[in-house]
Symmetry: C2
Subunit: 670 residues, 2 copies
Amino acid sequence: MPNPAVSIDQLSIDTIRLLSVDMVQKANSGHPGLPMGAAPMAYVLWSKFLRFNPQDPKWPNRDRFVLSAGHGSALLYSMLHLYGYDLSMEELKNFRQPGHRTPGHPESNVTPGIEVTTGPLGQGFANGVGMAMAEAHLGAMYNKPGFEGVQDHYTYAIVSDGDLMEGIAAEAASLAGHLQLGKLIFLYDDNDISLDGPTSLAYTEDAMKRFDAYGWHTSHVKDGNSIDEIEAAIKAAQEVKDKPSIISIKTIIGFGSPLAGTNKAHGSPLGPDNVKKAKEFFGWDPEATFVVPNEVYEHLRQPGQKGAELQKEWDAKFKEYEASFPAEAEQFHVSFNGNLPEGWDKDLPVYTPADGKLATRQASGKALTAIKKAVPFMFGGSADLASSNEMDKSGDDSFQPGHYERSNIWFGVREHAMGGIMNGIAHHAGLRTYGGTFLTFSDYMRGAIRLTALAESASTFVFTHDSIGLGEDGPTHQPIEQVTSLRTVPNIVVLRPGDANETTEAWRIAMNTPKSPVCLILSRQGWLPFDQSVLTPAAGNVQKGAYVLSEAQGGTPELILIGTGSEVPLALEAQKVLQAEGTPTRVVSMPSWELFEHQDKAYREQVLPRNVRKRVSIEAGSPIGWSKYTTDEGASISMNRFGESAPADYLMKEFGFTVDNVVKVAKGVL
Amino acid sequence: MPNPAVSIDQLSIDTIRLLSVDMVQKANSGHPGLPMGAAPMAYVLWSKFLRFNPQDPKWPNRDRFVLSAGHGSALLYSMLHLYGYDLSMEELKNFRQPGHRTPGHPESNVTPGIEVTTGPLGQGFANGVGMAMAEAHLGAMYNKPGFEGVQDHYTYAIVSDGDLMEGIAAEAASLAGHLQLGKLIFLYDDNDISLDGPTSLAYTEDAMKRFDAYGWHTSHVKDGNSIDEIEAAIKAAQEVKDKPSIISIKTIIGFGSPLAGTNKAHGSPLGPDNVKKAKEFFGWDPEATFVVPNEVYEHLRQPGQKGAELQKEWDAKFKEYEASFPAEAEQFHVSFNGNLPEGWDKDLPVYTPADGKLATRQASGKALTAIKKAVPFMFGGSADLASSNEMDKSGDDSFQPGHYERSNIWFGVREHAMGGIMNGIAHHAGLRTYGGTFLTFSDYMRGAIRLTALAESASTFVFTHDSIGLGEDGPTHQPIEQVTSLRTVPNIVVLRPGDANETTEAWRIAMNTPKSPVCLILSRQGWLPFDQSVLTPAAGNVQKGAYVLSEAQGGTPELILIGTGSEVPLALEAQKVLQAEGTPTRVVSMPSWELFEHQDKAYREQVLPRNVRKRVSIEAGSPIGWSKYTTDEGASISMNRFGESAPADYLMKEFGFTVDNVVKVAKGVL
């Protein structure tokens, strides 16, 4: 039985705490300490500030809430249940069990009300920054005199010591300060404990001073159990309009349990005895589990009911907006529904050899320019390589304080934050996002790319300078393993287009792929677009992942050359030589393994027939994985080692990416 | 002709500048801006502070210098040439050309005098922190009363805007401040320009205040051309013994050229006209290239000559040390030569099934404990997962200010910095390093792992919780793609041992692999060690990458089951069933693809004979790459999607990692 002697505030907080404790204990797995320490700040935020409607978790103008410290998922599930979201007590009782909505860490595509998938530390921090950037941009796009609230919401997060130690958070924080994101408010659960012990052993910086340096508003709450202190600090943060805010709230991990204040309360269940003692500490019946007093249910349903009213008002106002600004309103709907403007792709560029040599990065730049014209809700940029990635290089058009209407993001040299911010923008909804850097530096972003894939969200990554073909910068910058290693990520689409027209198609696919990250793998160096009057056109075929670009003489191949990216033209040249020498040779362009694997068996058999087993793949990257397509009787021309600093032409020759070598290897397998 | 009217200091600086400019122009590729702006600070540092001996670039007590902004490599090559290292003018003239010692970015295994391979931003910053940690630890290990200089040197670096924007630098900076690394001094080339334009568009934090917050000593040099100001600031930094220092030096990128102060001077050659104008600006003959006045050669040889004297003194003192502390001196030699103490591995644990179930992470913990006893120069730790990685959990034994003699590093939740710091420790020499985290978070560290591999350096990565076998934490923490994606990195060794004895061997291999990073892929869950009285023993076999763990009945297999890690016991169980049903089945344990590929053809044929093509691989990770080993007639039991939050046993069953399913798939290929 809960303690009747306390206020409804306190009773609610203790209910959140003890529900979380019971969840972890029943699952015999999880993190009880964070919910026990952070329940008061979560309660104050959700009950007194957060605008949300549990009946419509996708209301476009809701406040966003991110639990960056995703290991405290029990807290979030308790909150969602108590505040009226579609998450039953049965789900709480099945915490971390298969087929339920309460996985070990929050997953946005599993549980209504979860804004973004978190757990790997630092990601949620960057996601929150991305959401606040999205809000600022959308507000500037859609709000009009008399309609200041089309987009006007806060983004809140609870962040932990671990989040603040991660580099991705530092990168995102620096950018957020620069951008003066006044509606971003983070609550820092400052409990002095990380998994291995006291933070004093590794983390003694003055974190709030650091955020001061980034240009944030900072404040301290000395007692993390004080509702009033927390409320005052959040109010003060809301008053600061031109800076993001972080409130350092001193809490006690595992508060109320005998393990309070130690890392033993961090990552393991408290144990039955300690659970009982915690319940006694709060004046509750030590034997009862999963208890929610009726008055708590009633009390905690109120903010959501208020939110439903707010949404009703917003809906009514939006109706007026539709009347006054029909085009904007239409676009708002289209974008928030994840759709694209009709005919958005009709002006995508098409090329002939007469257009001259083009690097696929250049073709990407042209496609992106056309898309941005047709899709006004594109919002992305580069990690300080816009000029190399062939993106908008004009600082004048960059998203900046005072110019939130601009759509070109200058991420700075912050690849990992770029990935996390893109993920936040995508989860916010209402915008389509893209980001560019060198392919080699995709290594810096994998944590973010993975979560985009896991959450079935969308981001388009523009990875240029995709092989030793980048030349003199040398092996530190020459990707070898990156294309293959990206392919290993589940639910990803990796596309390495073979010419300018394939690049246009790659962008079309990226725009039409709402539930996977898409990586565009693009060359520094250029070559002529394929002659589509002779060869199979890219449109309609790139989307199949692989297709017969050039059929063998007579239609029955003895050999198949499979190329990707800058190696496709090499395959075409080698085909000529081989056919002249009497070997009917097919050239398959294979921009995407994943898309090819999604085709039916008949199509796959058509492109790579079982009985044509003499095959050679040509890709200036790792050989790993190619044998599936080249068969036991084939071979791969690939990179088994790091490259070298030298002009690109030299390197291509040195490492066997020549017509002569392709012909030689082909003869070896025949 | 150089300008005779200036001081020798100025003439030297201008020589460095113009040599760099000529290198970039001749290569028609590279970054002239940084050398032109940062030449004064480099000159002051090398001429007035840095203790080095160009005749012996590996002198153990030399000061370390890192060019974190590796794109400014022309600066470093100019310096190495002028200060007397083994880098000829011919090499400078062949900047960025194949077969030369002057690659696009500095590579420590290519050029004498380069301490560490840099270029990807932020890495050199973390490397420097690692070097300073190594120095502090070695000093505490070896210095004795009367012998305070066995290890007593500074670590310097030049870092750029881009370095400071990177998260890895933020992580490393926070740890360096915590550790009070007084002999770490960074010069920040604060030139307000990054590749895409002015830093004011993305980077407006108060960086020095941020470093204050980390616990660093900070100072400003207003005029980056002022030798006196720079000298005074470095002197002041040396006086601060209990804090790392960063000196923000305001410079002008491309100083002296018409493109000065713009991003046009950043990443492209100046162009012939601008080169001439720059030479005119400095009062030099605009037509002459690669000019070094004799007096500059003479002047710049002096610091190295002084360094040679210093080393001579150090050598003499070390002779005395050898007499007084023979054991320490011997160990010092052994470790700095990259060797191990004789018999270091004689107490490595060996297991029988009677030892009970063991997770390979536990076996790793036991091996590491044995190694640390036998090898006193192990220096590593965990990114706040020591308890999960089965490392030393005792904060009492952690490397801390005032206790630099301790060898257990608490990296904090800073995976990327951990990788970069390990790389710095390894490049410092004198220590062997290792670091642990969850395998999933290897994603955060790839930038650092790659450079370790490229530089042919050594680090042992302890990656635990290696599959869906981690259970309830769910898909955010369950690796799927990581093992495969690590395998794609050139010059890496990935080892996923199949039981406790294989884990011991994996550690033995890691310790004996001086020129590659080694990733140990370890399970959360446990099983019985294989019975080595019946099965092929691990010792001597794991090092071959794959071996016949259990031969088929009768010795001639119809089927080969290939397993790694926690899936090897499954293969053994399935073997029993299949053999009972009449199929002679071989089980191959394949802990490492890379090591197997290094075996000769005869051995590979012996383990995986060409004529036994019915093969099934079992690995709870990505299928990519397995078809090379399973052939066109085989199959892979693997993970094609993300996992789920549930108990491990449930997941293993759900995703087909059961004896029944292995038998079923095997029958399918037979």
